[in-house]
Amino acid sequence: MNAVNETEARNNGTLLEVEGLVSAFDTEDGLQRAVDEVSFTVGRGKTLGIVGESGCGKSVTAMSLIRLLPQPAGRILAGRVRFNGEDLLRAPDSRLHAVRGGEIGVIFQEPMTALNPVHRIGRQVSEVLRLHTKMRKKEAWEASVEALRRVRIPSPEERVGDYPHQLSGGMRQRVVIAMALACGPELLIADEPTTALDVTVQAQILDLIQRLQAELGMAVILITHDLGVIAESCDEVVVMYAGRVVERAPLRELFANPLHAYTRGLLESIPRLSLPPKSKLRTIPGMVASLGELVPGCRFCQRLGRRGEVLHHRPPFREAVSGHWVEACPECFQG
C-alpha cells in the first residue's frame, strides 16, 4: 500500500473510491460485461444507495468491490477500487481475507443462506471474531453475546445457543448484521437487506442499521430496488441501468431534480399513497435487453425502441449540476 495515498484518503474524507470498474461473465456467447465502467465514491460514515431494477448490475458491482464474483464465470476486467487508498483489486488474496468481514462487512438479502443451519448462532458469530482477532474460544463466545445485544436481539444470552431455524426472518437478519459488524468494519455493504422481510420488520432493520452506523461511524453501501428505502436512508444515490451508472447525485437533489429519463420513469411509476386510487400509473415501456443484446450506445434508448446513431455511441458521464452526475444522450437528458 502506498502510504502517501493512504494519508491523502484519510484526510479528504473519502473511504472508498471506485473508478472505471468493469466486471464480466463468461457465457456461451462469450464474455459479457455485467458492469461496464462504473465509478463512484463513498465518504466516511456516509450512506451511498445503489438503486436499479433486477439485472442492472447492482449486486455484481458490490461483489466486485470485495472480489467475491461467482467463480469461475465472473471476472473483473478493469478498474480500481481504492479502500483507504489501497487498491483492493490488486491486493493479495491474504489481504482480501482480512478485509472481508474485518474492515468491510457484508449482508445479503436472504439471511437463511448466509447462516449455516447446523451450527449454533454463537458459534457462527464467534467464528468471524476468531478469524479476524486473536480471541480465544470462550472470549469470542462472550463477545458474540455482546454482538447480539448490539443488534437488539432480546435475551442474547439464550439466543446465542439457538440454531438459525429457531429464529424468525427478522431475527436472522439481525444475526447476519451482528456477524457483519462483529469486527467493527469501516464499511458495510448491504445487498437488499430487507427485500425478503415484511414492511414492519423492514422498518426495524433499517432503523437498526442507521443507529449502528451512527454508533460505529461506519459507511454503508445500501443496494436496493426500492426508492422508498433509498429516500429514507441514504446521503447519496447511484442509479444503475444495464450495467452502467446513469445518474449520481445527493439524495434530495436526485429526487427533486432527476436528470435522466430512466430515473424520472422509475420515480413516476411507483404507486404512492398520495395518488388518487385506481388512477392510471405511469410506466416505462419495454424492458431491459439481455446482456448479450445490449448496444454500446444509449441503452435506455434501446429499451424505448429508438434507433440510429444514439445506439452506437456511449454518452459521456458528466457533471451537469455541481455534484450531480449524469450519463445521458440528448434524448434521455431531462434537464
Binding site: V201, H225, F255, A256, L273
Partner: protein
C-alpha cells in the same frame, strides 16, 4: 365483519365467520398435536366490479382466506356464498361450472405455468377443459387474449420460461380471464416484478376490470400498491380482519393501531416527507399458540390487554362503511368510547 357493508344480496362473493384450521403434527407418529387457526372468524363481502385489497404481514392468513373464498380449500366453519348460492360444502361436481367464474393469478407465474406447454396451450387449457367452442374458435379466442394482455401473437408458439417475469404475468392473466370470470383472486401478482413492469401489470388489471366488470380480491404486502388498485381495503392480523374501509379512508383516517403501524412502516419515496414512524417490536405471533385476548394488544404489550381476554373483539361500524375491531388496546380512547 358483518356483511352489512354490502347492501343485502348484492355481494358477488361473501364469506361469514369463515374459519380455516390446519392440523399441527409432531412426535414419533406425526400425531396431531395442535391446530393452527389460519383464518379465525372472518366475514367479508365483495361486490360486482369491486376490488377489495387484503393486507397484512406474512403468515396472517391472507392466502388461506383467498383459497377458501374460491373453494380451493374447504372451510372448517362459517359460510361461503357466490352469487347468493351457498357453496360452503359444494363438491367437485357442483364447483366445476363455478370455476369458470372464479379464477386466480399467482405471485410467481414461473411456478404456475406448465413448462411443457406452449403459451397457446396454457391459455387455451381452461377453454378446452370447459369445452368452449371448437378448435378454430378457441384459436381465435387465444389470439384475442394475447392481443388483450399485450403479447405478440407469435409468442403463443413459445414456452413460458422464454419470457421475462412481466410477460409471464401477462400469460397468467390471459389464462385467468380466458373464460370471462366474474371474480379473480390476485395473490401478490406484482411482488416479484420491478417497479416499471409492476405499473404495466397493475394498469392492465385495472383496464380489464373496467372492460369486463371483474371483481378482484387483491392480496399484496405492499400497502401502497393495494391502496392504489382497491376500492376497499381489509387489514388482516393473525387470522382476523381488524379494519375495513374504502381505500382513501384507510390511508387518511386509519383507526386501528395495527393499520397505523403498517402505514407508517411504508418507506415513502420522498426524502422531504416528514413522518412519524411507529416501530413495532418483534414479529407476528405464532398462530399455533395465539394470545387469548387482543393479538395486537399482546404484541405491543398494551396495559389494557387483560381486559380483552374472553371479550368479543368483532368489527363495529365506526363511521359509515368504516369497520374496525372493538378493541381497547388498538383504538384511541375517544374512538373506543364511540364504539365500546
Amino acid at each position: 365483519m358483518n356483511p352489512e357493508s354490502m347492501p343485502e344480496g348484492s355481494a358477488l362473493v361473501e364469506v361469514s365467520d369463515l374459519e380455516v384450521h390446519f392440523p399441527v403434527r409432531g412426535g414419533l407418529f406425526l400425531r396431531q398435536t395442535g391446530t393452527v387457526k389460519a383464518v379465525d372468524g372472518v366475514s367479508l363481502a365483495i361486490g360486482p366490479g369491486e376490488t377489495v385489497g387484503l393486507v397484512g404481514e406474512s403468515g396472517c392468513g391472507k392466502s388461506t382466506m383467498a383459497k377458501a373464498l374460491v373453494r380451493l380449500l374447504k372451510p372448517n366453519g362459517g359460510r361461503v356464498h357466490f352469487e347468493g348460492a351457498d357453496i360452503t360444502r359444494a363438491g367437485t361436481g357442483r364447483l366445476r361450472p363455478l370455476r369458470r367464474d372464479m379464477q386466480m393469478v399467482f405471485q410467481d407465474p414461473a411456478e404456475s405455468l406448465n413448462p411443457r406447454q406452449s403459451v397457446r396451450q396454457i391459455i387455451e387449457e381452461p377453454l378446452a377443459v370447459h369445452r368452449v367452442g371448437n378448435a378454430g374458435e378457441r384459436r381465435r379466442r387465444v389470439n384475442d387474449l394475447l392481443d388483450r394482455v399485450g403479447l405478440p401473437r407469435e409468442s403463443g408458439e413459445r414456452y413460458a420460461f422464454e419470457f421475462s417475469g412481466g410477460q409471464r404475468q401477462r400469460i397468467g392473466i390471459a389464462r385467468a380471464i380466458a373464460l370471462n370470470p366474474k371474480f379473480v383472486v390476485c395473490d401478490e401478482p406484482v411482488s416479484a416484478l420491478d417497479v416499471s413492469v409492476q405499473s404495466q401489470i397493475l394498469n392492465l388489471l385495472m383496464d380489464l376490470q373496467r372492460e369486463m366488470g371483474i371483481s378482484y380480491l387483491f392480496i399484496a404486502h405492499d400497502l401502497a400498491v393495494v391502496q392504489h388498485v382497491s376500492d376497499r381495503v381489509a387489514v388482516m392480523y393473525l387470522g382476523k380482519i381488524v379494519e375495513v374501509a374504502d381505500s382513501e379512508t384507510i390511508y387518511r383516517r386509519p383507526k386501528h393501531a395495527y393499520t397505523k403501524a403498517l402505514l407508517s412502516a411504508i418507506p415513502e419515496p420522498d426524502p422531504s416527507a416528514e413522518r412519524e414512524r411507529i416501530l413495532l417490536e418483534g414479529d407476528v405471533p405464532s398462530p399455533i399458540n395465539p394470545p387469548k385476548g387482543s393479538a395486537f394488544g399482546h404484541r405491543i404489550n398494551h396495559p389494557r390487554y387483560e381486559e380483552t381476554i374472553g371479550v368479543d373483539l368483532g368489527l363495529v361500524e365506526i363511521e359509515p362503511g368504516h369497520w374496525v375491531a372493538r378493541d381497547p388496546c388498538c383504538l384511541e380512547p375517544g374512538d373506543y368510547a364511540r364504539v365500546g
